[in-house]
Structures are given as structure tokens and as C-alpha cells.
Point group: C2
DNA sequence: GGTTAGCAGTCGGTATCATCGACTGCCAGC
DNA sequence: GCTGGCAGTCGATGATACCGACTGCTAACC
């Protein structure tokens, strides 16, 4: 563990570096509030902090820069989560007061809100539909051997899947299957669609029914939704100096599935913040991710996050993510 | 008009610059195939081309760079659309041979295909649903005063809108309204939903019916869909040198509506290519857009495009966009 | 013993300067 | 009208020196 003085020096270095993005020297730290020793003492302490891996020196005659371990210590010793700044709190409040309409739209703008609050990129993973009740199922014929099964779930989401029919069965059979399925599946949990239901008696109709059940079961455990809303991706351009880093981070953001599993992994590990290699993704070595799950009706539904450079303002980002996740949960619970 | 020699010199400059991204000098052009004069003559011609605005000089002792006008001339004088390179043609062919499943998924991967073919960013605007027949309408109650109207259109797309009900009318009324609407609207064009239909006789049910019709009419002329698929946005990072340009272009791509209207505008002006300020968007001053509409069942449905730097390989990009738009139209017509 | 002032030393950043090389424009000769 | 050749321009590159912001270390101080 670090003694008080080392800790406050380390904290001062991190804060200063986050602000200026420049290596910080002992003089600057000695002048910082909360550090009441001379620059010489600071130098001695910084040398120790470096040897212990909290700080690094780009070159001999430069100031110090926090390492991943340094950021980690900083984040771990942020006492209270910290409240959102007044102006930001107001924006969040107003956003959710005004929030309405389609789920997707709302999540999309939530990702923009996160981006706006932090100056980095906002990410929103939609509620997982793992155990939501089915409100309605409908099968619509589109072509002789193609139909579309549309299911409405209790959380107001709509799923659709196309189904290849074994042969041209005719509209009336499709409609019969649709009505039958609607009756049989209403109220069923999406994650527990049965492999078989009561037969209608007509073999052709039953064929359609079975085909649809098969599709629903195969696509069922949507515990990892493949969709994710990314807001403010353009901020990545100003987050990193190296063009290749920008490109790599953008590439990561383009892979929906990767982003979803990334957030899920981090949340599952119980982290609020993943710094650099902690993300487990090589292209994010210079980045950091602040995440929070949100709950709907008391259950973990999805997660949100902010992706920025490792030198991001953690207290602010964590406050923003916490506030938005709480409010988002509420908004979705009511609706 | 430019005489033959000036034209071939200009073309050589553009081609060379596209390849190297470096100002090109007279010596290089004199060595180019198709130009059989000395560098001195080339110099004289280039001076004229510059005074006429086709070329520009970054500084006195540098080579020439094409201006917007220069690129425009180059594009306008590309004779044949040019066939896709063998390897690329194969990729396109295989992609559409394998294409299947949901429309959205397919359009999404089409945008990636475009990006892969050109090394820049691919954009796909989905088919406009302006005059597509309604295959099915269903109203599902979600909460006492909230329902979701889900309509399946003939092009396999699904629309959903939430509806505020005037008061809690009960599930049976909602279901009655749903059945009634399904019967009344099936086969109607999405763009011509009537303001009123035959009444059911039950006032509460009729209220729901009218409310739904209202929502469908208000959201109806979806001739400008607000969704667009962007593939390979990370390529923007390597397309421009200036970080601010990268950021600005990414910002444009984040605004779905802006991108849709941009493509639409360009196509409506009858252009295949919009260079720099021709796009009408200030942040795209250094960019160029290659577009093509695609047709489904013989009618203009949507458009696709490639967004890259002004110094992009136009013949290749135009060939790619043309091939993909044709194939995409076919794929959507069959399905 | 811990702290501090002071000092020597390191090293990147910036400015200066000369050189180099890739251009151009122009002119005289073919 | 084309071309070879030449003088001139100017950015890019590299050497050099200098400055300034650091550091680590040591000796003195409390």
C-alpha cells in the first residue's frame, strides 16, 4: 500500500495529466493543493512510485506519466462516486423527463447523451430479452415458400425472423398457423419457447407451426443481443494522437458483437472501469472504459458505458455513467 | 474544352496523384504512357491547366495537384463505366449468391462490402417504403393505455409505432380493433392509409381504430427513411490527414438523416459523383461521394454510395458502386 | 531521520543555417 | 511548335547550438 503522501502525490499526477495531457514534473506537483512538501521531496517520492510501477517517464528529462497501475490506483481510491456537476445533472434530468417514444430511439439518444456529458464515446447495450414474456406472435406469408414471423414482447420490442416453408402451403394455412401459435405462445417466456405445442390436426398447418417454433427456439437465448448503440464515435478522432489507434478503436466500435461482449465481460468481472489492457482488447491498450449495468424491474437488463482515452476524467465519467444508468433503469421500468 | 494533349496530361496527373497522394511534377507525367512529349512541353501545358483552374500548386517549387474542377473533368471523361476487377467481381458475385436472411442484415453487410471493395466507407440507404402494400397490421396492448401497432409490409420490413390510447379500453377491444384493421388495411398501400374505415359499431373499439389510423398516416410518407447503414467508418481515419477533417466527416456520418438526404440530393441531381463542395456540405470539402440508385421491381428504391477522400480511385469506386447497386436491386427484386 | 536547497546532468523541443533535390518558368536553338 | 538546358524557388532534411524543463544526488538543516 502507499502511504498518504505517496497517494496524494500520485493522485495529483493523475489529475494534472488528465487535464493537460502533458508529462507532469515535480515542481507542478509541489505547488498542488494537498501537497505541502518541496519539489525535492516530491521527486524522491515520484522515483519510488516509478520503481513500484505507478508512474513512468517518457524520457529522462521529462515529467512523469501515470501507468495503467497508476490509473487503477487512482480509480480504486476515489472515495464517493461523486455527484454529477450541476449543469450535467440538469441535462440528464431533462433528457429523461423528455424521453419517450420507441425504445431504440431512446437508447440511441442515451448513447449521445453519454457522449455529450463526457466528451467521449457513449455506448448503450439494450435490455436483454432473455426472459420477457411474449405478447403476440404473428406469421405473415410473403412469398409462396417464405413467411415472416413477427413477435411482440412485453418490453415493447419487436422481433422478426424469416422462415422458409417446406413447401407452398397457401395463405389460409399460414393464417391458421399464425392464429394457433398466437393462442399457444401468448404469455410464454421468450427464452422457453417449447419445441412442440398442441397439434391443429391439419398436417400442413402443423408443419408451419413446427417450422416457426424451430426458428424461435434457435434464435432464442438472446442474452447477448447483437445490437448496440454508439454515440459520438467521432470523438475518437480527438481522443488519441496516433492515427492507427483512432482507426483501430473505430474498428472495434464497428463490431457490434465485440462491443456487447466487451461491456458484458467488464460488468461481469464486477468492474466499473477497465483501463487499457484490462479491457482484454489489444486495440484498446490506450483506452479506458467506464461501465455500469442498469436494472429494469429490479433485474439486470443491459449496460451502458463510456469509451475514451486512458487519461479520461474518471470521476466525471463515473458520475455520468452512474446517473444515466440509474435514470435509464427507472425510465424503462415505468414504461 | 481541352485539347487532346491537355486532356491526357490532366488525366495522367489525376491518376498519378490518386496513387501517390503526392504533388506530381512534369517529369513524371512526361514518362507516363500516352504522353509522348518532353517534360518542358508538359510544364507549359500544366501552366495553362493551372491558369484554367484544373490544377493547383501547393507552392512554387512543388508539383501539381488536381483541383475540384480537375477531378470533375477526369470523372466526366471516364468513357466506359469500366468493369470491376476480376477479384472484386468475384467477391460481389459470391456475396450476393450467399445473401439471405433479414433485409437489415443484408444492407448492413452490403455497406461493408462496398467499404471492402474500395477501401473507403460504404453507405446504403434502405429501400423507400413509399408505396409498398401492407401485408398485415396488428395492434398489441402493452399497458392499460399504451399499445403497439406492428405492420408488416410486402417488402418484408416491419414497422412499429407505439400508440397512446385515449383511455383504458381493455384487451378484448384492442384485439377487436386489431382484427378489424387487419381486414381493412390488408393490401392497402402504405402511403395511402385512409383517414377512416368502416366502423365496427363499438365506439371504444372505433376509437382505437382511429387512433391507429392516425399514427399510421402521420408516420406515413417514409420517403426519407431515417436509417442508413454505414460500413467501414474507421476508414475515414486513414482517408484524411487532418484530425479535424476526420472528426468532421465522422460527425456527418453519425447523422443518419443528413447522410440520407445527402445521397438523395446527389442522386436527384443526376450525379454519379459529387466532389468536394459539390456535396453541398462544408465538412466534406476534401471528400468525394460516389453514388448510385438501385431499383426494385423496376422502381427506384434506395441508393448506395462510397464516401472517401477527393483523391479516390474513381473508376474503381464507380465500377464497384454500379455493380453492387445492380446486384442489390436484383437480390431485392427476387426476394 | 526526514526534509530541503542547490547543483550538475540529461534530453527533447526549437531556432538557425546550409545543403539537397524536386520542381518550375523561361529562353534559345532545333 | 517542341525541346534541352539553365537559373531560380522553396520545402524537406540534417547538423548544430541553445534553451528549458526536468531529474537524481548530495550536503546541509531541523
Amino acid at each position: 500500500m502507499l502511504d498518504d503522501r505517496k497517494a496524494s502525490i500520485l493522485r495529483a499526477v493523475v489529475q494534472e495529466y488528465i487535464e493537460t495531457a502533458q508529462p507532469v514534473g515535480s515542481g507542478r506537483i509541489a505547488a498542488a493543493p494537498g501537497v505541502d512538501v518541496s519539489s525535492a521531496t516530491v521527486r524522491n517520492e515520484m522515483a519510488v512510485l516509478e520503481s513500484e510501477g505507478y508512474l513512468a517517464q517518457p524520457h529522462t528529462s521529462a515529467g512523469r506519466v501515470p501507468t495503467e497501475k497508476g490509473y487503477r490506483y487512482f480509480v480504486d481510491t476515489i472515495g464517493s462516486p461523486g455527484a454529477l456537476r450541476g449543469e450535467h445533472a440538469k441535462r440528464v434530468k431533462e433528457f429523461f423527463a423528455r424521453a419517450h417514444g420507441e425504445l431504440e430511439e431512446m437508447l440511441e439518444s442515451t448513447s449521445r447523451l453519454l457522449s455529450g456529458l463526457t466528451a467521449w464515446t457513449g455506448v448503450v447495450v439494450p435490455p436483454s430479452a432473455a426472459d420477457v414474456a411474449i405478447r403476440s406472435v404473428q406469421v405473415v406469408g410473403l412469398a409462396p415458400t417464405v413467411a415472416l414471423v413477427v413477435s411482440v414482447l412485453a418490453d415493447a420490442t419487436v422481433e422478426k425472423h424469416s422462415v422458409e416453408l417446406p413447401r407452398a402451403v397457401g395463405d389460409e394455412r399460414v393464417n391458421a398457423a399464425s392464429a394457433h401459435l398466437a393462442a399457444q405462445l401468448q404469455g410464454t417466456m421468450r427464452g422457453s419457447v417449447p419445441a412442440d405445442v398442441a397439434r391443429t390436426g391439419d398436417p400442413d398447418t402443423d408443419d408451419v407451426v413446427l417450422q416457426v417454433l424451430d426458428v424461435l427456439r434457435r434464435t432464442s437465448p438472446a442474452d447477448v443481443p447483437d445490437e448496440v448503440f454508439v454515440g459520438g464515435a467521432s470523438r475518437v478522432a480527438s481522443a488519441f494522437d496516433a492515427v492507427e489507434t483512432v482507426q483501430q478503436v473505430l474498428s472495434v466500435l464497428e463490431e457490434q458483437l465485440v462491443v456487447v461482449t466487451l461491456l458484458k465481460d467488464v460488468v461481469d468481472r464486477g468492474l466499473q472501469v477497465a483501463i487499457g489492457t484490462e479491457t482484454g482488447m489489444e486495440p484498446l491498450a490506450d483506452a479506458a472504459l467506464v461501465v455500469a449495468p442498469y436494472t429494469v424491474d429490479g433485474e439486470r437488463a443491459g449496460s451502458i458505458g463510456v469509451l475514451g482515452p486512458a487519461r479520461m476524467n474518471y470521476p466525471e465519467a463515473m458520475a455520468a455513467v452512474a446517473a444515466v444508468s440509474r435514470r435509464l433503469g427507472h425510465a424503462l421500468t415505468e414504461g
